[in-house]
Symmetry: C2
Subunit: 399 residues, 2 copies
């Protein structure tokens, strides 16, 4: 008998992803990729990390190389609870779950809450990685307009009046992925009111929150949460190193317990060694000083990129001006196809990559946008890549 | 409005797990736990691991601490393909997927294949961690009898004639978890024939395969696979260190592609640093020599435990005698409740823990068994714990 392999129905929703392609492009040294959400590797605190890994292995390898706790090392959960406290979120270590990057929090939250056909509300556009994490649970998406102040609460409220089976709302309130915009304080309060009134969970994904280089921090949704409805996701990927694969969730103890069981089932636990190293880093070094130096570097890079954009891009290409994070969002004239342009122009002619915007829209797949990262390339590549892109765009849009 | 939180239906199948409890007991230094599947931490190659982590971070931290590839580091996939080749499985690096421990392979395979109500065939008893990974996909289980030669193929064949919607069969052919038995060569061939004839996938979970200390290796199911039906799962947890959280799947390129997309969605990738360190370890050191030393140590520990069992246990407690792996399986007289005995006798009176057998049976929850690990405790604790258990059992069974 020949094989007649039937995949689960959810696999119809699991398609080859632009992210995988970006990870590939990001690893190709010939290509100037503004695609991934890569932090600047030259800012990794390699010396200190080397010291804490050495300490973790040589002083206590029998513990740090062994199995440990599915919800995460108690000491690291405590340290994260303390740091969250300094950011206005009062929580106990029992309300913290260590994750294999905050990406895992997206997967586990959807698993926890979504039956086929349940509704997830997202910004429009929204983070592609969230859609690919949610898709295997076969949700329906209801999307909400985004402007310079983040998710439009009037649009949200009108949609809540008609949407059925809304299980959770997914938002990146700080320096949103992909647009770079930040939700205003008023809208944050209104979102919590709406969540309480219409009875849904809010999944607050905030991996860039600490990378703010202009203005002051706005309260997290979690700090405004009055009914234990917010699941906050944080990450060490942008402030320490993504290669450690460490993120965390903060939520009510009941939710953390259930997410922890799903975590145990999915992969037993995070790397004990990586958790130990992160914990020792927080004990021995001043991570806040390290984050300040990242902020300065990214602000400088952003300004370099934006100066280059202003000098070389055609006038009719618009871009957002974020106060933090890693991305700007380009909007080209109507009818422009950013995917086609990348494949036919920028990649072959200038070896420049970005993320075409269409995949960030759950339904409408608008083609005239692109997400551009300014944190990962060195200065000379930023100038070289953006200038080349500007020249190609000028030629192309004129033609 | 007060919160009216509705979890996904699958959560009815996700219950607090004995494994989490075991991870806790394993971390309590006052308790002699024969529960977890912990390797002996004194055998971790800490000096060499220290060296490769230092090399990974200090020589090339910009790469090893950065994002990399969702399917795993190319060099590590190549090294695993080579090692699999030496074990009789011809495969390319594209047929290898790096996992967050082989546990993740259980989660992803169920996600890939199982719609609610589809059938997974398992040994009876089977690995509890597999059940908790599969349960969120809401399968039905069909269970097959196990004897000293592993899964009973007559029982399997008769069940295949009546079972509908069989998607895959899950087996631990080498030193099975929990019983320690090994599937005979004849049965392996017959299993592949049945898989071809009845058209199902075989999930071969073999984390203990390399820890064989008596007799010779039998061919993996993957090496007998003629139609690309076998997904093989391997692990570095028992031969290197579980705290690195690294395992792998070997399957047809089509299956690996799809599992890789689910991996990307679930957690982006494994730790680049841990993958780099494992790869450097394989390049610089002789892992086969290291594994030989583990085998010797575990054989010695097993014999120490078995001598103590023979000297101190009542005659009517039976135990399996595995040729490898980490576990023996105790069978107590009918009517004995091993969970009750642990909670009321062995834990309070001797601080000794094991895994009560009931949770390993998908349907029948037989109470008169226990899984006992002999790899993780030091010699004196093995003698002390097993002797105390023997004495308590004698008193209890006599009464």
């Amino acid at each position: 008998m020949t094989m007649n392999l039937q995949f689960a129905k959810r696999m119809e929703r699991v398609q080859p992803s632009a992210i995988r392609e970006l990870l590939r492009l990001g690893a190709d040294p010939d290509i100037i990729s503004f695609g991934g959400g890569y932090p600047d590797a030259s800012l990794f605190p390699t010396e200190q990390l080397n010291a804490v890994y050495t300490e973790a292995i040589s002083r206590n390898g029998r513990l740090s190389l062994q199995y440990s706790f599915s919800n995460g090392l108690p000491r690291l959960r405590e340290q994260i609870a303390q740091r969250m406290g300094r950011d206005g979120v009062t929580c106990s270590p029992e309300e913290v779950l260590i994750l294999q990057g905050s990406q895992q929090g997206l997967d586990l939250t959807a698993k926890l809450l979504i039956d086929q056909g349940d509704v997830i509300i997202t910004e429009n556009p929204t983070f592609l990685g969230a859609l690919i994490a949610f898709n295997p649970c076969e949700p329906n998406y209801v999307t909400v307009r985004v402007d310079a102040d983040g998710m439009d609460m009037d649009d949200l409220e009108s949609k809540l009046h008609t949407a059925k089976r809304v299980k959770f709302l997914y938002t990146v309130p700080d320096f949103q992925n992909p647009t770079g915009v930040t939700m205003s304080a008023d809208r944050r309060r209104r979102l919590i009111d709406l969540a309480n009134r219409f009875d849904f969970i809010v999944l607050e994904d905030s991996p860039y929150r600490e990378i703010r280089y202009q203005g002051s921090s706005l309260p997290t949704l979690k700090s405004l949460d009055t009914e234990g409805r917010v699941v906050f996701l944080g990450s060490f990927s942008k402030v320490l190193a993504p290669g450690m694969r460490l993120g965390w969730a903060v939520a009510s103890e009941d939710l953390i317990q259930k997410l922890g069981l799903l975590k145990l089932a999915a992969d037993t636990q995070c790397s004990t060694l990586n958790m130990t190293a992160a914990s020792l880093f927080l004990d021995h070094y001043d991570i806040e000083a390290h984050i300040r130096s990242i902020r300065q570097a990214y602000l400088r890079k952003k300004e370099l990129m934006f100066d280059t954009i202003r000098q070389t891009f055609p006038q009719d290409v618009r871009f957002t001006d974020p106060s933090g994070g890693l991305f700007t969002w380009l909007t080209f004239p109507e009818g422009f196809d950013s995917a086609k342009f990348m494949m036919e122009q920028s990649l072959p002619k200038a070896k420049v990559a970005y993320v075409p915007g269409a995949t960030f829209f759950p339904h409408t797949h608008e083609t005239n946008h692109a997400r551009v990262n300014y944190s990962s390339q060195p200065d000379d590549k930023i100038v070289q890549g953006i200038s080349a892109l500007g020249q190609l765009l000028k030629d192309y849009l004129k033609a």
